[in-house]
Symmetry: C2
Subunit: 262 residues, 2 copies
């Protein structure tokens, strides 16, 4: 008798050949309870935010990564991959979309730049329960614990019948030894701040150009934030949504008599 396995769609922004997505793939394969589909960018797409490709066609290559696993490599952004997966490649909606594991944390307001989070947001917009997963280390990330954790939380989400409509989870895992992980915290998006630095140079023809760089400022970091959880050795799970309305200021602006402007 054939048992219908739940389908999990894996994508990311580091590209289909990144270590993080392969680590996830291995963990789900080993677990054996899920059908796994991989549809991811054919190259690194970090910091693309929620870009989509509208002015050129998107090519898709059926890709077998170095003999390791099968997936579709898309010459587009993470959001493109999700749109294509759901709108053109997969026959049915997946039961869960997982974006990651990203090399580097997606914490605080920095999630607005994140291709990893945008793929999960796109999944949510398309009606699929979606999570974004990152390991908070760009230099030497350890994906092992994060991958095990994701398999557990994926099972928990599916047991509960999926995520609430319009809500996704942004998960950040400290890059420390498994034994040192203190636990898991439900957190809020922190307000961590970032200062941009620009190095100005001139090209050989005398035209100005800039290299962008920057550093964290550690603004008002509340105890229940994603940032504090991860830096204290906890896995951070932040429920987020894409309704950006600032409800608390609706009345404030009404008092400005903006509605009388004409």
């Amino acid at each position: 008798m054939k048992i219908n396995k739940k389908t999990i769609l894996l994508t990311n922004d580091d590209g289909i050949d990144a270590e993080g997505i392969y680590s996830l793939y291995k963990a789900f394969k080993e677990d054996g309870r899920f059908e796994i589909k991989v549809i991811a960018p054919d190259k690194e797409n970090s910091a693309v935010g929620h870009a989509i490709t509208v002015f050129r066609p998107i090519s898709v290559r059926e890709d077998y990564q170095k003999g390791k696993y099968f997936g579709y490599a898309v010459d587009g952004t993470p959001a493109d991959c999700v749109k294509l997966a759901i709108g053109a490649i997969l026959e049915d909606l997946p039961d869960l979309l997982i974006s990651g594991i990203n090399r580097g944390g997606n914490l605080g307001e920095n999630i607005i730049y994140s291709g990893t989070v945008s793929a999960a947001t796109e999944g949510t917009v398309c009606g699929v329960s979606s999570i974004a997963v990152s390991v908070d280390d760009v230099i030497n990330p350890d994906y092992e614990y994060a991958s095990e954790f994701v398999v557990k939380i994926a099972a928990r989400i599916l047991e509960n019948g999926g995520l609430p409509k319009d809500t996704l989870l942004n998960i950040n895992v400290p890059s420390i030894d498994k034994k040192e992980i203190k636990g898991t915290r439900i957190t809020v998006q922190g307000d961590i701040g970032f200062r941009d630095n620009f190095v100005k140079r001139q090209d050989p023809r005398g035209r100005d150009y800039y290299w962008m760089d920057g550093e964290f400022m550690e603004r008002n970091i509340s105890k229940d934030s994603d940032y504090m959880a991860v830096k204290s050795g906890y896995v951070s799970v932040t429920p987020i949504h894409y309704d950006m309305t600032d409800y608390k200021s609706l009345d404030y602006f009404k008092a400005w008599d903006i509605e009388k402007l004409k």
Copy 2:
């Protein structure tokens, strides 16, 4: 006696030579109360979302648009323009950032793809009062009324000492005759839905590629939404923020015992 004028930074995603930003420039110039700076992408950047450029340098050209006005043309995204303006080009923080006027509405969840909104979000992250402005017509937009409206609301914002920290305004103007505009509404981000369509083709070498297209679905559109306001002839002003935390679901997920996962 020299009077210090308030400084307004104009940017957009349609590019420095777009009609929308020039219409804004003319309206502020005519008004005469403000110092105007223009720092915008050197080409169209629609649907780039909140992308930033981190893997290559960004060149900046001091640009005089067909003898019309002076501005800096940046070979980057709208968010890049704002980061560069604030971090490298302008000596002082501007008093107000205006992104637009976009050719086409930025309504409902579609703001997550919007370069126009992302520039205003970036301004807000950098501590500058910021607004995004769009005219809801891609074919034959009329920027005249929208530009007049923006000058009025800019003055109103500055009279009130700027926008609240972390809040920006997403403004959408119907593209109808000035006399037919019914007024202004403070709105919430609608839930309008979008269905992606993909046209699949093969290139001359037999490889698959896709063109993305799509259409609005008109989901649960509440009366107080941006979408309904604009489609009913009102200017829509939506206060938005970049805290994506879904506060209402924090307790829901705690009840899943996610914090016990390890």
